[in-house]
């Protein structure tokens, strides 16, 4: 009796284990069943629509459909996004309801693939353009080549360099949602207090250094510039002096160069002058700038809405130039259609994406969040042209450059190479040694050893 019990237990255990663990391998299309399960409501609506269309051809309003998307807009720009979605839900005549679910990046990353492959995920996704390649290669998103034809939106109205980021191997996988670079924020009040011209932002790295030193007032807790240890875009300083990290195709490692030694030594010296708080965290830098305790720092445009709400007297300008010019890493987000979407979901998602590309929405998004404008018709809008911050941002957005956007290991380069490197440089370790070690690590990640 006992043996049978134990044996049965073991058998059950193994069976269920195999089901759970190897189910994916043994059974190639669970996603199909999955989408059947979850989209049953949607298929139902689609069927209903057909029936009704057959019954009464004159029905104007479509059957109600609810689509959802996931994103990680946890900052103040997420508030505006929520408002726009709510506005769409109220005003659209197609009976579409869009549900928005915002979660932090790590949760999103860990949940999304499993959710999509089991058909329990969202109908569409709002994510960084650097993820398109990975998502496409792992069969998580669908091509949307017919988007422009179906919606009838004029593609030529939008900047080509923004659009091309949503394509992979010539196929369209995303509809651009926003485009951004990194910018230099500066506090005009602190500039004035330090005797600098508040309308004259630093244009070069030398001017940046001079301004940082002038604005620093450590006794009162005020620093010239914030150099956070975990800031992800120090590559812009390296580029400025002709250095680089990795080639855009990921086949070459440029990290260990004379130019980079020079730039990083300059940053280390800057740090030694006490112009930045030590051991600063990137989120903390946002806070300190908002509190008027940092005269300058670099960040993406997503802080603009928050700063405007707080009434800070600040300016925004391009990343300063070094000996080789000024560059800033590009970024952007696109709407993507998750695998498993049926025709009804696809059509509803297209409608929402088209709504996003309408002048009014793009204008609101740029106006309130300060994201650069990338549509010609919006650019011509008088209200946009009158927005000083936005004009500055748009002016500062011409120096974009691709930083590991097409590499699968991009986030690993940031986490395992660049962050430890900058932590060590900023705390005063020998620059040449740090670069050598970081370069070895980068070789390892790129598989160049």
């Amino acid at each position: 009796m006992k043996k049978r019990f134990a044996g049965g237990l073991l058998a059950t255990l193994l069976t269920v284990c195999l089901l759970a663990g190897c189910g994916k391998a043994a059974e190639p299309a669970p996603a199909a069943t999955g989408s059947d399960d979850t989209a049953s409501a949607q298929t139902q609506t689609a069927a209903d629509t057909k029936d009704e269309a057959a019954d009464a051809g004159d029905t104007q309003t479509a059957e109600p459909i609810t689509i959802s998307f996931w994103c990680n807009f946890t900052g103040s720009d997420g508030d505006v996004l929520r408002e726009i979605v709510a506005n769409y839900n109220e005003t659209n005549t197609d009976n579409v309801t869009v549900e928005i679910d915002i979660m932090d990046y790590a949760t999103l990353q860990s949940k999304l693939p499993t959710a999509i492959s089991t058909g329990t995920g969202p109908s569409f996704i709002l994510a960084g353009v650097e993820l398109i390649k990975q998502y496409k290669e792992n069969d998580m998103i669908l091509p949307i080549d017919d988007f422009w034809d179906v919606t009838g939106i004029d593609k030529s109205n939008f900047n080509a360099n923004v659009l091309e980021k949503s394509y992979f191997d010539g196929t369209q996988y995303g509809v651009p949602m926003q485009y951004n670079l990194q910018y230099l924020y500066y506090n005009k009040d602190l500039f004035a207090a330090a005797g600098l011209d508040p309308e004259k932002a630093p244009k070069t790295m030398d001017e940046l250094e001079a301004a940082a030193v002038a604005c620093t007032d450590a006794a009162n807790g005020i620093y010239g510039i914030g150099l956070p240890v975990n800031y992800g875009n120090y590559v812009e300083y390296l580029w400025a002096n002709g250095g680089d990290v990795v080639s855009t195709d990921g086949t070459q490692n440029f990290l260990n160069s004379e130019e980079n030694i020079k730039t990083l030594t300059w940053m280390q010296d800057l740090m030694k002058k006490g112009v930045s708080p030590e051991g600063l965290d990137a989120g903390e830098a946002d806070t300190m700038f908002q509190a008027g305790r940092l005269a300058m720092y670099t960040s993406g445009p997503w802080n603009i809405n928050g700063l405007n709400q707080l009434g800070i007297n600040y300016g925004i300008t391009a990343i300063p130039a070094g000996s080789a010019g000024a560059f800033a890493p590009e970024g952007g987000c696109s709407w993507m259609l998750a695998k498993g979407a049926d025709d009804a979901v696809r059509s509803a998602a297209y409608k929402f994406m088209a709504y996003w590309l309408s002048d009014g929405v793009l204008k609101e998004w740029s106006n309130r969040n300060g994201f650069p404008v990338w549509a010609d018709t919006v650019l011509a809008d008088p209200e946009i042209q009158a927005n000083k911050i936005l004009a500055d941002v748009s002016e500062a957005s011409t120096i974009g450059r691709d930083y590991h956007l097409q590499l699968d290991c991009g986030s690993q380069i940031d986490a395992d190479v660049m962050q430890p490197l900058m932590e060590r440089v900023l705390r005063g370790d020998d620059v040449a040694t740090c670069l050598q070690e970081a370069s070895d690590k980068l070789d390892e990640i790129l598989g160049l050893k």
């Binding site: 269920v16 946890t74 915002i102 932090d104 989120g283 806070t287 908002q290 008027g292």
Partner: protein, 273 residues
């Protein structure tokens, strides 16, 4: 050392510890009423210059708080109730009954406490999907319906109850169920209260678990829902503080209301021999 000197010194130390606990918590609660500007202000102030509730209205606006609260309460109560029952049944068997493989089974159950959730996160997700209970109420409750910790704790508690009591009953012909219900359970009320509070707290505060097993905001628990405010791209400290206060307040209120019962329960749960 005289009794008086000891009492003075010990009370001084205790007051110091009390301040160490209460001051940060007070700071947390009053800071939730600061404006965005005041949260980041330098020099930092303990109390807000002006008390505002904007952070709370903001959080209330962007998250379906009442729904999440309802989810949390249902989830936590179900888990606590079911798990107390199942745990105590097993614990009774382990503490009072003899059966083959007892030591082995107990060891195996203890082993389950050692598994970090991150390890089984994805398998559980896939399994729940196969069973069709993903993103449902039971999908959240079932994996927590028995806890190794509870079995472990109750077994050690039951072992402390003098055997003479139930042996007498056994001689009188009482069944095992009878002994469990009529003798062990009434004697173990304090242990149940303690364990109940542990389950209540752990499940209320759990983050990753409900976050993984729910797919929509409407199914999410309070802690998991509020955690979505804290991002890596940008943290809004004001709302974060308010969210923190919202998530811990209900539990604190329950605890403070029931603390007399709870603390007395614990202090009488000592096993006398």
């Amino acid at each position: 050392m005289s009794k008086k000197a000891f009492s003075i010194i010990s009370n001084l130390i205790l007051i110091l510890f009390m301040l160490l606990i209460l001051l940060p918590l007070c700071w947390l609660f009053v800071s939730a009423f600061k404006s965005d500007l005041a949260v980041n202000a330098w020099p930092p102030r303990f109390f807000p210059d002006k008390w505002v509730s904007t952070q709370f209205t903001y959080v209330w606006k962007i998250l379906p708080i009442p729904v999440m609260l309802k989810n949390t309460v249902c989830f936590v109560l179900a888990v606590t109730g079911i798990s107390l029952f199942f745990d105590s049944l097993s614990a009774y068997a382990f503490a009072r009954m003899e059966f083959k493989g007892k030591k082995l089974l107990f060891g195996i159950i203890l082993l389950t406490m050692m598994i970090p959730f991150q390890v089984v996160m994805i398998p559980i997700y896939l399994e729940e999907y196969k069973l069709g209970i993903l993103n449902t109420f039971w999908g959240l409750v079932l994996p927590r319906a028995a806890s190794a910790y509870g079995i472990f704790m109750l077994t050690s508690f039951f072992s402390g109850i003098p055997r003479s009591l139930d042996e007498a009953a056994r001689i009188d012909g009482m069944s095992e169920f009878g002994i469990y219900f009529k003798i062990i359970l009434p004697l173990s009320k304090p242990a149940f209260v303690t364990l109940g509070i542990f389950h209540l707290m752990n499940n209320w505060n759990d983050l990753l678990y409900p976050m993984m097993l729910t797919c929509t905001q409407e199914k999410r628990t309070l802690s998991a829902g509020l955690a979505t405010l804290v991002g890596s791209n940008a943290i809004k400290y004001g709302p974060t503080l308010a969210a923190t206060v919202i998530s811990i307040s209900p539990l604190l209120i329950i605890f403070l209301c029931g603390q007399r019962f709870f603390m007395e329960g614990i202090s009488t749960s000592g096993m006398k021999e």
